[in-house]
Subunit: 338 residues, 3 copies
C-alpha cells in the first residue's frame, strides 16, 4: 500500500485506552478500553477497526453512514451518533484526530547520501538524468524519461515511463503514471495546509495521503499540488494543468479536464471529467463540480455545480445570469447618472 | 533564424498531397497536389509557400487578408475564402494544423553530458556562474552576467551582457537582451498551454515560437512566461514584471510597461507601451491593450482597451464607472434593508 | 545590525552639499551645506542625522511628525514643512531618495567559490544538507535543520534551529527563526518591486531592508516574500502561509495569522495577529488590517479594516453586507427578466 512507501507506522494498533490518554477525550457510554484501533481513516472509508472524526456539520450524513469503529466528536453531537460506534467526546475532534494520526505515523526521515542519485533508486532503460538532478532513496523512474537539471525526486516517489520532469521541479510523496509532463518548478506532494487551531496555536496535522497522478497528465510550470490529509490527492488520466495552478489537499480531478493558468482548487473539492476551468478561477473547498462543467475565467465557485453547467462570476452563477447581471449593472449606473 | 536554434526541421517541404495524407483534410476546388508547402505560419505572417489555419470567427478579417498559399478551414467557411489560396477542409483545422506542424518540427532532443556547463556553451568575460548552475548545449551568455545556484539555462538559449539570472530560475527556448534581471524561480520558455481537443482527447500542439526578451527587462520571482505557439512571446525593453506573473503564449508586451504581482495575461494578447497593470489583475486572451493604459489591481479585462484608458473591475470598465457602480451598489443594499 | 550583513555601506556620511549634487535637489530656506547625513530612513524612523522623503499625501501626518534631519519633498509641500528640518526640493522625491540610497549602499557582490557549501558558512550540529544544496558566504544555519536538494541559501542569511528548507527553495537577505518550514520553491528575500518612474524610465530603487521571519512560521510552496525597501519585511511567530502567496516589500504580518493559497499582500501593508486570509484574496498596499480580522476567500481588500471584522467581496465589505448584496443582485436579475 502506498502509505508505507512514505511513512513509518509506529504502532500496529492503539488500544482505546491509549487513544483516550493521547487525546484527552472522554468516552461516551460504555466502551471496551482494550478495543484495538488499527488506523485512522475518513468517515467514508473507515472500517470497524479504524478511528475517524466528525467536526463539521457538512459531514453529518457521512457521520451517520460511517462504518468506523471509533469516532471523535463534539459533545453536542453525542446523542445524534449512529449506533455501534465507540464514541469519544472532545472539544476539538480535529485536533484530537491529529494527535492520534501523529501517534500512528511519521514521515520517513530525510536521509541524504553523498550521491545525487541514491543507490537504492531504480531507473528504467533509456531514461536521461541531468547531472545535477536529485533522485532520492527508493525512487522508481520508468523507461525513457527525462529528468531535468536541479529536478528533485524525493524519496519513495514513483514515476512511470516516458515522463518528462522538467528543470527545477520537485516531486515528493507521489506516484505518477506514464507519458506525463511535469513542467519546470512544479511542486508536487508537499504536505497540505492542515492545521487544527487550539489555544491560539495552529497545530500542524500530519498529512498521510500522497499524490496520485494518472497517465498523460501535464502539470504546468510553478504549479503546486499538495498531498492528501488522509486520502490521496488525485489527478486522473489526460488532465492538463496550465502554469501556477494551486491544487489543495484531497482534491480529486477527473479525466480529460483542463485548468487554465493561475487557477486554484481548494482542499477536498471533487472535480469531474472533462471539466474546463478558465484562467484565474477559484473553486472553494469541499465542493463538487460535475462532469463537463465549464467555469469561465476569473470566476469564483462557492457551491456545487451540476454536470454540464457553464458558470461565471464571483460568486459563480449560470453564465446567462451573469451576462444579464452585467447588463443590469451597466443600465443601473446609466440611469442613476451618479 | 531563431527557430532553428531550438527545433529540428525534419523536412524542407511537404507536398500538398502529403499534407492531405497527414491531416485527412479534403481539398476544396482545384488544387495542385504537387505544390510545395515549406512551412507553417499564422494567417498574418504566412507567405504563398506556407500553410496556415482559420478556426475562430475572431480571426475572420485576418483570414480574408492572408497571403498564405495554403489554409486549413472548416467546410462552413469554404465559400467565404479569399481567392488564390489552396483551401483544405477539415472538421478541426487547429488539430490538422497541429499535425502539419509536428510533421515539420521537433524540439531538439535533450542531451545531458556529465558536465554542468556544456563544452559547446559560450560564456562571456566576467560572467560568474554558481557551482551547481546548469548551462546546456549551445547556450550563449554575454559578459559580466551572474548565474545563480541551481539556475538552469537550457540548450540553445541566448543571454546578453550584464544580466542576472537568480537562483533556481529556468530559461529555455529564449533569447534575452542586456541588463536583464530574472528573479529566483522564474520559468521562461516552456511550451504554451496549447491543445487541440479531438475525440475526447487533448492533443498537444507543438509550440514552435520562442521567448524574446529585450533589454532592461525584469522578470519577478516564480513568474512563468510561455513560449509562442507559432510566433514568439515578446517582452520589450524596460518592461518590469513583479513576482508570480503568468504570461501566456504569443503574448506581446511593449516597452516600459509594469505588471504588479500575481497578474496574468492570457495567450495571444497584445499589451502596448507604458502600460500599468495592478496586482492580481487578469487580461483575457486575444485582447489588445493600448499604450499608456492603467489597469487597477484585482481587475479582469475581457475586451480591448483603447490607449490611455484607466479601467477597473471584473469585467473591467472605465474606472469612473466602476466608482459609480460601487456607490450605487452600496446605496442599493442600504435602501433595500434586506 | 542586520543591514551590514547584506549590504556594503560605501560612505560613512554624505554632506548636504553632496546630497544636493547627487540628486539635483534645491535646498529650501537656509541650510548648512556641510551638515552630515549618515543614513537614509523612513519618515517614522529617521533621526536628526538621517534623510527621508515625502512623496505621497497619505504620508502627510508622518511627514509632520518626522524627526528626520533632512527630507526630500516636492516644492508644493514646502510651506507645510515642519520646522527644524533641512528641506530639499525635488520634482520626484522618491527618485531623489533612490539616488541617495544607492550612493550609501550596494549589495555585497555575489561571489561563488567552487564549493557548494562556502567555507565561511556555519552549520549547526545535526543539520543535514542535500548533496546539491547551495550554502553561500557567511550563512549561518542552526542545529538539526534539513536543507533539501537544490535549495539555495544565499550569502549572509541566518536560519535558526530545527528548520526545514525544502527542495529548490531560495533564501536570500533573510533572518529566519527556529522551527520554521520553508516549502519547495519558496522565494524569500529578493528585492521588492520598487521603481521610481522618471522621464519614461522605471529606475530601480535599491531595497535595503531584509526579510525577518519569527519562530514556527511556515512558508508554502512557490510563495514569494520580497525584502523591504528601507525597513524590513516581517512575518511573526506562528504565522502560516499556504502555497503561492505573494508578500510585497515592507509588509508586516503579526503572530498566529493564516493565509490560504494564492493570496497576495501588496507592499507596506500591515496585518495584525491571528488574522485569517481566505484563498485567492488580495490586500492592497499601504493598508492596515487589525487583529483577528477574517477575510473571506476571493476577496479584494482596498482599505483599512478594524480588528475582529469579517469581510468579503471585491472591494471588500462586512460579510453581512456582502451576503445582502448578493441576494439583492440575484433579485435584480430576476425582476428585470432581462
Amino acid at each position: 500500500m502506498s502509505r508505507e512507501r512514505f511513512f513509518n507506522k509506529k504502532y500496529e494498533y492503539l488500544t482505546l485506552a491509549q487513544a483516550i490518554e493521547i487525546t484527552g477525550a472522554t468516552p461516551y457510554g460504555e466502551v471496551d478500553l482494550q478495543a484495538r484501533i488499527y488506523d485512522v481513516a475518513t468517515l467514508e472509508k473507515a472500517s470497524s477497526q479504524q478511528i475517524s472524526f466528525f467536526h463539521s456539520g457538512s459531514y453529518f450524513e457521512k457521520f451517520l453512514a460511517t462504518k468506523a469503529g471509533f469516532c471523535l466528536i463534539e459533545e453536542k453531537n453525542a446523542d445524534r451518533s449512529p449506533a455501534g460506534i465507540n464514541i469519544l467526546l472532545h472539544k476539538n475532534p480535529y485536533f484530537a484526530y491529529a494527535k492520534i494520526a501523529a501517534s500512528f505515523y511519521e514521515e520517513k526521515p530525510h536521509e541524504y547520501s553523498e550521491s545525487l542519485i541514491d543507490s537504492s533508486a531504480k531507473i528504467g532503460d533509456g531514461t536521461k538524468i541531468a547531472p545535477n538532478a536529485f533522485v532520492g532513496k527508493n525512487v522508481q523512474i520508468g523507461k525513457n524519461c527525462i529528468i531535468g537539471p536541479s529536478a528533485s525526486i524525493m524519496q519513495g516517489s514513483i514515476i512511470g515511463d516516458n515522463c518528462i520532469i522538467n528543470a527545477n521541479a520537485t516531486i515528493a510523496f507521489s506516484i505518477i503514471g506514464n507519458n506525463c509532463i511535469i513542467y519546470a518548478g512544479a511542486r508536487i506532494g508537499q504536505d497540505g495546509f492542515g492545521f487544527a487551531h487550539q489555544s491560539g496555536i495552529n497545530h500542524k496535522i500530519i498529512q498521510i495521503g500522497i499524490v496520485e497522478i494518472g497517465d498523460d497528465v501535464e502539470v504546468g510550470a510553478n504549479c503546486c499540488i499538495d498531498r492528501g490529509a488522509i486520502e490521496n490527492t488525485i489527478i486522473m488520466d489526460g488532465t492538463k494543468l496550465d502554469n501556477l495552478n494551486q491544487i489543495g489537499h484531497n482534491v480529486s480531478i477527473g479525466k480529460g479536464s483542463v485548468l487554465a493558468g493561475c487557477s486554484a482548487i481548494a482542499g477536498s473539492t471533487k472535480i469531474g471529467n472533462f471539466v474546463q476551468v478558465g484562467g484565474k478561477s477559484s473553486v472553494g473547498g469541499h465542493i463538487s463540480i460535475g462532469d463537463g462543467v465549464k467555469i469561465a475565467g476569473m470566476s469564483g465557485v462557492m457551491r456545487d455545480i451540476e454536470p454540464m453547467q457553464i458558470v461565471a462570476g464571483i460568486p459563480s452563477m449560470p453564465i446567462k445570469q451573469w451576462h444579464r447581471l452585467n447588463i443590469a449593472l451597466a443600465n443601473m449606473i446609466k440611469k442613476k447618472g451618479v
